[in-house]
């Protein structure tokens, strides 16, 4: 089984998407978790979830924004070193700061906490194809609606190459007006259909290239 995900920054928010089994729906998925009303966490591997759950149970109060979350989780990992390598990609909007988006990767290597800040877009997991396409197609200034279409296309095209990528997609958006929201199953289904249509169109247009 391969897992692939994408965090895309848009001018009006952040989108987090990951592949999922067919029965996954919204919060009922194994990769993306809501941390607080403005922050999402992409989990690197199943062993990361119990660590995050233990952190959230211990955190008092739960941090309100992504920067606070990263700082607090980093301290938690240093104080309670996990027995296995775990990783988290944390994305969200800073409260009280207009347009302050944050995308950071936090990995416990077994010895230390590594923290990397990303400019806004981050491809996750088995990401070669998604990264290749996104670098050529997507900026930081599109709308969240377009980011949803883009994420569905990236994950769908990765699955064309890596057939172990799971067939469904879960998505969540974080914007200033609504905070963290799961994208509905109906909307995701339409996005997957649309991504497939774009993929076929690309294939058709490539016929005369060589």
């Amino acid at each position: 089984m391969a897992v692939v995900g994408a965090i895309l920054s848009a001018r009006d928010g952040i989108l987090v998407a990951a592949d999922a089994p067919n029965e996954a729906s919204g919060a009922n998925n194994d990769t993306i978790q809501q941390i607080n009303p403005r922050t999402a966490c992409y989990l690197y591997g199943p062993e990361s979830r119990p660590v995050l759950d233990a952190y959230l149970a211990a955190a008092n109060p739960v941090p309100v924004g992504p920067l606070d979350t990263v700082q607090s989780l980093s301290q938690y990992l240093a104080a309670h070193p996990p027995t296995q390598r775990v990783g988290f990609a944390i994305a969200g909007l800073q409260p009280n700061e207009v347009n302050a988006k944050s995308v950071q990767e936090l990995v416990w290597t077994g010895q230390t906490v590594n923290l990397v800040q990303f400019p806004g877009n981050l491809m996750l997991g088995a990401h070669s194809v998604a990264r290749y396409l996104n670098d050529r197609m997507y900026g930081f200034n599109s709308s969240l609606e377009l980011a949803k279409q883009q994420a569905a296309f990236l994950l769908g095209e990765t699955r064309v190459t890596l057939q172990t990528v799971r067939p469904h997609i879960v998505m969540a958006t974080i914007d200033r007006a609504n905070g963290f929201l799961w994208v509905s199953d109906d909307a995701v289904s339409q996005l997957i259909d649309r991504a497939y249509e774009r993929s076929c169109r690309l294939q058709l247009r490539c016929v005369d290239l060589f």
Binding site: A126, S128, V129, R131, Y132, L133, D135, R136, M137, Y138, S142, L146, Q149, Q150, F153, E157, T158, V160, T161, L162, R198, R201, L202, Q203, R205, C206, V207, L209, F210
Partner: protein, 243 residues
């Protein structure tokens, strides 16, 4: 890592690799650092109609293909099948010798090295053949029947070949496609890079290495193809903007 490919067309084969070797060295502060060199020779000609290429671990890879070439010259194997059989034993022996020479043989044995033997079988089947050997399957020969075989850092190239390759393509078209796949992979994966090594196999000319001058011309042709492909991707994106 490497990108290694074998493409089958209507009139022959195209084989290719990059020339980058990636290793990990310890810095004075004890931190590991990835170091790359673009000097690796990853494929050799075995006889008039057959070539062999390697990917993965550089050392057992190169010694494996060199020894196969020497042995094939010495033994004058008459058919593709006999070279294939000899190759399995040689690759396994070289890999075992390499792992035993490492400080931690158990860990070294989990390393990945692979080989692609490809050429025209003019004795038994009169067909173009591609065979894969991988350390993970004790170098058991696996005949490749798909028109496209890509190994090691293959994801981007496989995605693109799925869009661009067609079984009726000629060797000339496939050499362009091979360069395009290499360039696009190199633009994203830092472990693939350096001069492109290419060869063709046709009935008329047998195994023939594509010269540096020819590769330079192919690179120029591919600049236009790269631009055209990026334009297609951007068109798709902007169609999303307008709906």
């Amino acid at each position: 890592m490497t990108l290694a490919l074998a493409l089958r067309g209507s009139n022959g084969l195209v084989l290719g690799t990059d020339s980058r070797v990636t290793s990990v060295q310890l810095q004075p502060n004890g931190q590991p650092q990835q170091v790359t060199r673009d000097t690796s020779e990853k494929f050799l000609q075995v006889n008039r109609d057959i070539g062999v290429l390697t990917y993965g671990l550089a050392e057992p890879g190169y010694s494996g293909i060199s020894r196969l070439v020497e042995q094939a010259k010495r033994e004058r194997y008459p058919s593709y099948k006999e070279i294939e059989t000899a190759a399995q034993g040689i690759f396994q022996a070289e890999f075992t010798a390499w792992t035993q020479a490492q400080p931690q043989p158990g860990a070294a044995a989990t390393g990945v090295v692979g080989f692609i033997l490809a050429g025209y079988d003019s004795v038994l089947t009169n067909q173009f053949k591609v065979t894969s050997f991988q350390s993970s399957s004790t170098f058991q020969p696996q005949e490749i029947i798909n028109p496209t075989f890509l190994a090691a850092q293959f994801h981007i190239a496989q995605y693109l070949s799925g869009k661009l390759a067609r079984p009726e393509m000629t060797v000339d078209q496939l050499t362009q496609l091979a360069v395009f796949l290499m360039l696009e992979t190199m633009s994203t994966e830092i472990t693939v890079g350096g001069p492109i090594q290419l060869a063709t196999v046709t009935i008329r000319n047998g195994f023939r290495r594509v010269s540096e001058e020819e590769i330079d011309k192919l690179l120029e042709i591919c600049q236009a193809k790269t631009r055209a492909f990026r334009r297609l991707l951007l068109e798709l994106y902007t169609e999303g903007l307008s709906t």
